[in-house]
Amino acid sequence: MQRKQKLTRNTAYFVPYTLWIVLFVIAPVILLIYQSFFNIDGQFTLGNYQTYFTSSTYLMMTVNSVWYAFLITLATLLISYPTAYLLNETKHPQLWLLLIIMPTWINLLLKAYAFIGIFSQVGIANQFLSFIGIGPKQLLFTNFSFIFVAAYIQIPFMVLPIYNAVSELNPSYVNASRDLGATPWQTFSRVIFPLTLPGVKAGIQAVFIPSLSLFMLTRLIGGNKVITLGTAIEEHFLTTMNWGMGSTIGVVLIIAMVIIMWLTGGSKRRPRKGLTK
């Protein structure tokens, strides 16, 4: 009797979760796929996909999006990995982690506007460049500033999973590696990095996927000199009202994300228990 009650209570716990998933994840995706098969006159068609895969504009835009997302992810990773590693060595890692996460409490738009101020002709960055004698440079609306700001925004999402992986790393493996005569590079590439790889993969997923469809930064910081698929989606939903085409691009993005998940999530095999702790 009691057991049965417990069972129903357990299922009751799942109701909000399932409802959430069905209403806000599965249903929108189905709607998106459904919508992508209709043209602007509301007729069923495969034309949207045909347009997408035969249009050099959209294909170029896809290549662009993937390329920039890759660069952003790479920049983020290069900064976050050493940060996460050193964080683990500090006395109060939780405090430092809090400081790194703090920028995510601030609205994205606000941060973008702050960077406009920093990078503008009379901004702090250019004042500094003038001060050290290089002279003001065009910083806004360049690929550099776009990747810089995007990486700045994504860093907390990369640091967190890597930090978790690093903090789970048992220091005795590192010690053992050194004791057995491995060079620092060998220790890193053969022991530390493979053991923290799950964190890196999780970080890449958390950064690469949203970076694929950044669109506000492309305008505010990139001055629309960087065009990604997000720009096209925004245009199709807001200006041309061609929701079918917009949905098609959305579906392509989802497929791209699935591919990334599959590539980075490759081995689902958990490391042996003894290895983690």
Binding site: R219, L238, N242, M245
Partner: protein, 356 residues
């Protein structure tokens, strides 16, 4: 016991606060009867002191709600959830709303002061005989330049933007219709062309402009121009007026060979309910001194010619915002295009943005 008492006191305090808040909310939303008018307009598009004056004169309280694009306004009116009494669409959107049967015709017998309006801005193609709309403001698309970087008077025409010396100096407003539009005008074509080949030619011309284009941005353009970030910008006259107010080095030019002429007109959407208030407001806004006060506050050009004579000389003789007849005769009003054509304009525009 002590706890219980303090809990009860706390509850009572919260109740009192809520009652006070509800009373205040009701008072401000004016749900106390029919002495109200629901105005749905662009952000900061009416002098607030006129609303107070209107309420004092007529007793009608005006609730102002704002939108930031014609399309957003269209969708909301179409859904019909809120009883908006008046709204201010632009020219092509009036055409679109008319076709979608979202507008109520004006009762001309109840309107006074229609003779105050400049006949040049009445009876236009988007609303023949002003069956549905009363002019509110008008303006143009043009070039803003900073005399720190550009010699005053040296830019008069669209084609001058293509000069090599303006490399990486120009900011464009992120709007497909306007960017394609000025490229078409520079080619001597109609800004409402329906010919795909003409659009393609315009895009090819724009591609040649891209070395000069520093950025394609939206509202931020005002901030950038005021901060001397770029030498030249292409934007609407209303935005230009705000920039000029913020930086005395800026100037606004409407190319004489042609550009866009736009109108924002007051219309009665089919969601309207308070007709007495609507006509009182339309007549109030047609009065020259009110229209003049509004024009001075907003900085856009008023279509009310009697109001224009009341404006300070510096404003009414400003050729930047009240261009001469010859220029006006070359200006073109956007027509409502078919969804396919809107798509085509946007595709060509996207291709230009992709081009580096």
């Amino acid at each position: 016991m002590k706890k219980l008492i303090s809990a009860i006191i706390g509850l009572l305090a919260v109740c009192a606060l809520l009652a006070f808040g509800a009373h205040n909310l009701q008072a401000s939303s004016g749900s106390n009867g029919s002495k109200i008018l629901n105005l749905y307009t662009w952000g900061d598009y009416i002098d607030p002191s006129l609303l107070t004056k209107f309420q004092k004169q007529t007793g009608y309280h005006v609730n102002v709600e704002t939108f930031d694009s014609n399309e957003a306004m269209f969708t909301k009116i179409k859904q019909g959830g809120t009883s908006y009494d008046l709204t201010v669409p632009s020219d092509y959107m009036i055409e679109k709303m008319k076709a979608a049967k979202l507008l109520l015709p004006l009762d001309k017998k109840r309107l006074t002061g229609m003779q105050n309006y400049d006949p040049r801005f009445m009876n236009l193609a988007f609303d023949r005989h002003n069956k549905y709309s009363v002019p509110y403001f008008w303006g143009t698309l043009g070039i803003i330049y900073n005399d720190k970087f550009v010699q005053p008077g040296s830019i008069q025409h669209w084609n001058q933007l293509w000069q090599k010396k303006y490399r990486n100096q120009i900011m464009l407003i992120d709007s497909a219709r306007d960017v394609m539009g000025f490229a078409l005008a520079s080619n001597g074509q109609s800004m409402n062309t329906t010919n795909p080949a003409t659009l393609l030619a315009a895009r090819n011309k724009l591609n040649k402009l891209s070395p000069n284009v520093k950025a394609v941005v939206a509202d931020e353009i005002k901030m950038y121009m005021i901060q001397n970030e770029a030498a030249i910008a292409v934007d609407w006259s209303g935005e230009a007026a705000e920039m000029l107010a913020g930086n005395s080095h800026l100037h606004y030019v409407v190319p004489t060979e042609g550009s866009n002429l736009w109108f924002d007109n007051l219309v009665i959407p089919k969601t309207a309910k308070h007709f007495k208030a609507i006509y009182a407001f339309l007549n109030f806004m047609s009065e020259p001194q009110n229209a003049a006060k509004n024009a001075e506050y907003i900085g856009y050009a008023t279509p009310n010619q009697k109001a224009k004579t009341l404006l300070p000389k510096a404003i009414r003789n400003d050729r930047q915002f009240y261009p001469d007849n010859r220029t006006i005769s070359h200006l073109q009003i956007y027509q409502d295009l078919s969804p396919e054509l809107v798509g085509l304009y946007n595709d060509r525009y996207l291709e230009f943005k992709m081009h580096h």
